[in-house]
Symmetry: D3
Subunit: 246 residues, 6 copies
Amino acid sequence: MSDETRADGRTPQQLRPVTIERGWSSQAEGSALISFGGTRVLCTASFTPGVPRWLAGRGTGWVTAEYSMLPRSTNERMQRESVRGKIGGRTHEISRLIGRSLRAVIDTKALGENTIVIDCDVLQADGGTRTASITGAYVALADAIEWARSEGHIARKAQPLRDSVAAVSVGIVGTTPMTDLAYVEDSSAETDMNVVVTGSGDFVEVQGTAEGVPFNRAELDGLLDLALTSASELAEIQRSVLAEGR
Amino acid sequence: MSDETRADGRTPQQLRPVTIERGWSSQAEGSALISFGGTRVLCTASFTPGVPRWLAGRGTGWVTAEYSMLPRSTNERMQRESVRGKIGGRTHEISRLIGRSLRAVIDTKALGENTIVIDCDVLQADGGTRTASITGAYVALADAIEWARSEGHIARKAQPLRDSVAAVSVGIVGTTPMTDLAYVEDSSAETDMNVVVTGSGDFVEVQGTAEGVPFNRAELDGLLDLALTSASELAEIQRSVLAEGR
Amino acid sequence: MSDETRADGRTPQQLRPVTIERGWSSQAEGSALISFGGTRVLCTASFTPGVPRWLAGRGTGWVTAEYSMLPRSTNERMQRESVRGKIGGRTHEISRLIGRSLRAVIDTKALGENTIVIDCDVLQADGGTRTASITGAYVALADAIEWARSEGHIARKAQPLRDSVAAVSVGIVGTTPMTDLAYVEDSSAETDMNVVVTGSGDFVEVQGTAEGVPFNRAELDGLLDLALTSASELAEIQRSVLAEGR
Amino acid sequence: MSDETRADGRTPQQLRPVTIERGWSSQAEGSALISFGGTRVLCTASFTPGVPRWLAGRGTGWVTAEYSMLPRSTNERMQRESVRGKIGGRTHEISRLIGRSLRAVIDTKALGENTIVIDCDVLQADGGTRTASITGAYVALADAIEWARSEGHIARKAQPLRDSVAAVSVGIVGTTPMTDLAYVEDSSAETDMNVVVTGSGDFVEVQGTAEGVPFNRAELDGLLDLALTSASELAEIQRSVLAEGR
Amino acid sequence: MSDETRADGRTPQQLRPVTIERGWSSQAEGSALISFGGTRVLCTASFTPGVPRWLAGRGTGWVTAEYSMLPRSTNERMQRESVRGKIGGRTHEISRLIGRSLRAVIDTKALGENTIVIDCDVLQADGGTRTASITGAYVALADAIEWARSEGHIARKAQPLRDSVAAVSVGIVGTTPMTDLAYVEDSSAETDMNVVVTGSGDFVEVQGTAEGVPFNRAELDGLLDLALTSASELAEIQRSVLAEGR
Amino acid sequence: MSDETRADGRTPQQLRPVTIERGWSSQAEGSALISFGGTRVLCTASFTPGVPRWLAGRGTGWVTAEYSMLPRSTNERMQRESVRGKIGGRTHEISRLIGRSLRAVIDTKALGENTIVIDCDVLQADGGTRTASITGAYVALADAIEWARSEGHIARKAQPLRDSVAAVSVGIVGTTPMTDLAYVEDSSAETDMNVVVTGSGDFVEVQGTAEGVPFNRAELDGLLDLALTSASELAEIQRSVLAEGR
């Protein structure tokens, strides 16, 4: 792998500065304001006893997510989806990805008949908004589960979280595989891959897309290696943030 | 006026702590993260040369605003308006109020054929979200205008801002007129009034509503007095924030 | 106050001719076709036993309102909101205002678990459509309550109406405060204020907006005086219309 | 044909009282408030020079119609289509029928590149709202064309109206063919037919539907005879109303 | 009636080649892929035990239909109605027509509290899509009823189908009455009539529209004669297709 | 890899029977009815000279896709998205995937300023609808390009297609990696991966999702091997279908 430096001075293998402000919201049962460099996402977890009707009576819980961008999170203002009257394809796709990623590490039996809705609202966007969302959402989720345990909604010994989960984007810029792409890098990447990885290093999602020329098996393997390394760094940051008292 | 203390220890005439973080967003031409106690609103101003088609060729600019609440800004999660597929009445009403309030202090001729869109996104809500939005929006607007001047979109000597503008909610809780109502106070107020006032102390908007029993002329007069006093404190805070270098 | 005459020959303090045709509809439980000069609004009150689910079991009733304009009520045809697929901000705002105004004079306990929906459909618009709507809606509401009493849905001795309610627009045209603005006056007013007043002379709503330059305290006081006088004339007209047999 | 009397005392061949109030609206270029017994429809015609883009440059005009019912025009209040966010099938179908009926008697070349939009808003419904709409719409249309001629939008000698048009509902109630069905008759009719006929007695639309058992050729023939007779009475009423000065 | 030949070589009284492929879908309880020449419609019948809530407890079933065109079923691609976010007037109108036509031959008591939804999706359009839909829908419906009987959802001796139903379009092209109009004929027809007829030769629907000049009684009679003849040929084709083992 | 047989008798490495009926539609410029076993998708390609406004003047073309399922393509009838009034997340996601996959093999410069819209309508669904759609869409696209060349819309020597593209779903069912999952297999798969591959064996998209437990690197590698083998078989089928005269 190359060691050429990037526009912001990073090496290809280096994440942007990651900060996670736990408990940013005093309203939500769990929350985290996460930054991947200039990308800032407010993740809140809303806990409600009970489940949607179609799931009732099975003894299992439900976790879902909604992703959205503020209209001026980006360099040019976008129209609000509430004003357009419908949710775009990209928004749907990312909301579904975040939900699936979190459900992959949730034991819904241990969660009991409870619902947790995660909201990921992008306050400022500079690439990697979906991967920052997943990574921050996990922290908000973990705190909401702790809250529910302390309130008696979840049994003291139940372990709804089977593992942690984090996500990173990797891509081939020019011919160099790079991690955690900033917006300008993402725009010029030939291949763009979002990888969601558990704390123990298994894959939850692998989504690779050729933006320009298709990629071969060797390039794919290189990107997967890079993603696993970065994801384990993110898992370590999540662990240390959650180790602090709330 | 009574001097009984409130749940949060304030006197009836006392505002909650007000903080304004200018330039919170690195994407927008102007921005301010404003807090009125637990209420936090991110205000961004998006400047675009040119005006909507229906206004073109008249040499005047356009300022408009959109207000929105994050789904978990409140104590119970609300459904997103983008998911419901339509914008609620309250949202429309507040967006229109913010826009009118800002236009009252804008000289659209001096602005030239330029458009400024203000987004007020409530990150956390504890009463007074519309008044905090107006107060913060003015700061974002002022910065966007400075930016436009520095970029040459507005003539160096043009003065698009004729005055400053701020807003405060006042209400009768029990029998006591109080300023800057927090959510619990607002919920129990007999009368609720939002007042938008210029820096020079004139009214832009007066919106008083009897939530319980109708109010008489003397009560109305008392509330207006209180509002004018609080608004002049907010104007002073705006002035001092804008006096700092950006 | 000035006594200069207006385009239609009125003095500044003079209402336009007001007519209220009670029971215009043979379908609704209460109805009134009200005219404020060229403004004509059909107000119907629909009574239904029972309340929305969120209110059930509390022993209180519910009153709500919907306002709409026929597409060719105005000088230029407007697109129908049903065709656009969404309700505009102004429509929402006025519907909410009418509902709040009526609820201010309703004792929902005395109404019992019953729902009354008021529809105000503007057949022809010449300024003051919201104030005519409120004034006419009260008459339709009163008749619907009488109907419900006669049908046994409301106890014979219950008094759901605590007071009457009427509304008037006042504004400063040029420098003259004027009442009940016609469309051409409203368009050129510097300040526009809608005031909702009970039959006993208390305020339910005060909504003043500077269309041009902000207004000062003395101007506000003058407008409030004028509004109270006009509102008491409207209350008298309502009383006399309701005194006739249905 | 039977001569048994109906609930409202009519013979099977007798129309309800028909009244047409021309020029009801002072805003529209043409208007008529038409009553077929308890059914009351406000028809307005909005004239605009020019045509929709897809028709421009061909020297032909455009006539279209929109039908709507006020929410409390009926015995039970219906939800507004603007609130539901979409227009129902029945509304679409009737709007299209009215438009086609009017276009059948319009010479769009003689109309020139002008657009006329007809709005038919049902204020009170008691059966036959679509046939009353068509019959009233023709009067509003005729007046709008006269207005356009007087304003010089249409050449003095142009004859955009080739004929008049009116509509009537006929049906088999029990075994008796009856004309101009009131709501209770329409609800119990075995077969329901709406027939649109020109002033010279030709068909523009024939829409017959078996609500209960299918109908045979003889029954169809009987209904068509009845419809032609009633339509000629309506044409006579239209003629006499239009013969009066406006 | 004329015997001049048409663009595709048919006589005026001749249907296009009609094919019905029963059981095209292995998912639906009944299905038919019907062709009227180049028009191809996939009709599926979905059987569900139970009825919509507003019909429950009356011992009667429900049959309804939805019609839709694939975006490239036509010569120029149309925008999908799901993308436009609303269903057009024509689609609503045809869906309602198909539903009414099928209900005219269904004994809903004999159907019991069961629901059958018919979907008619036009895969390729060359005129007569609504008449082909009705004709094919009957076959799918008949198969779904057989399926329900074999599964025990409908009593062995119940006869929910009182008759068969088919539909045909007829029109006056030039001055010649013609049956089963192809797209080019339909576009140039002066009068266009869709006629829905039972197997025993009674009318369910007659919908005639003057596209150009209004039509007189004699022309109407000629078209009805032609429609009855064609409909009986379609009924014969339905009978022979249903006579084969499934 | 295991050689245990599946419910339908296939080996884990075996595709279902694949058929491609080219030119199924006589309306579209290119079309293919593709079957992967019980999954049947009608793919049409609509060619239009010119590009959307945002792309005009750059000399490049545009290819986009829309995916949809007929309501009764599945075992239980689904509500139409046109009826619900909005397009679901899954539909958006698959439409975007198909579009990206096709664009990966298109040289938009060689296409010139022309637009091709691919519609993939699922007539019957039994797993793998998105992969069948991509595979069939390529054939329709190739034919539309040939058509455009023959009509002179594309230069005779231009080669807009750089390669072919096909897609296959692979997954781990139990512990066995299997290709081309039928619906029952897909529902029970632990991991589900859709892989889009060019004719020359490079990746366009890799989308792997852990439905149950996360998957490790070795499992991922096994699935990728299987996908590449199946994709090359599909490419061979595409080649042979396109080698036949149209």
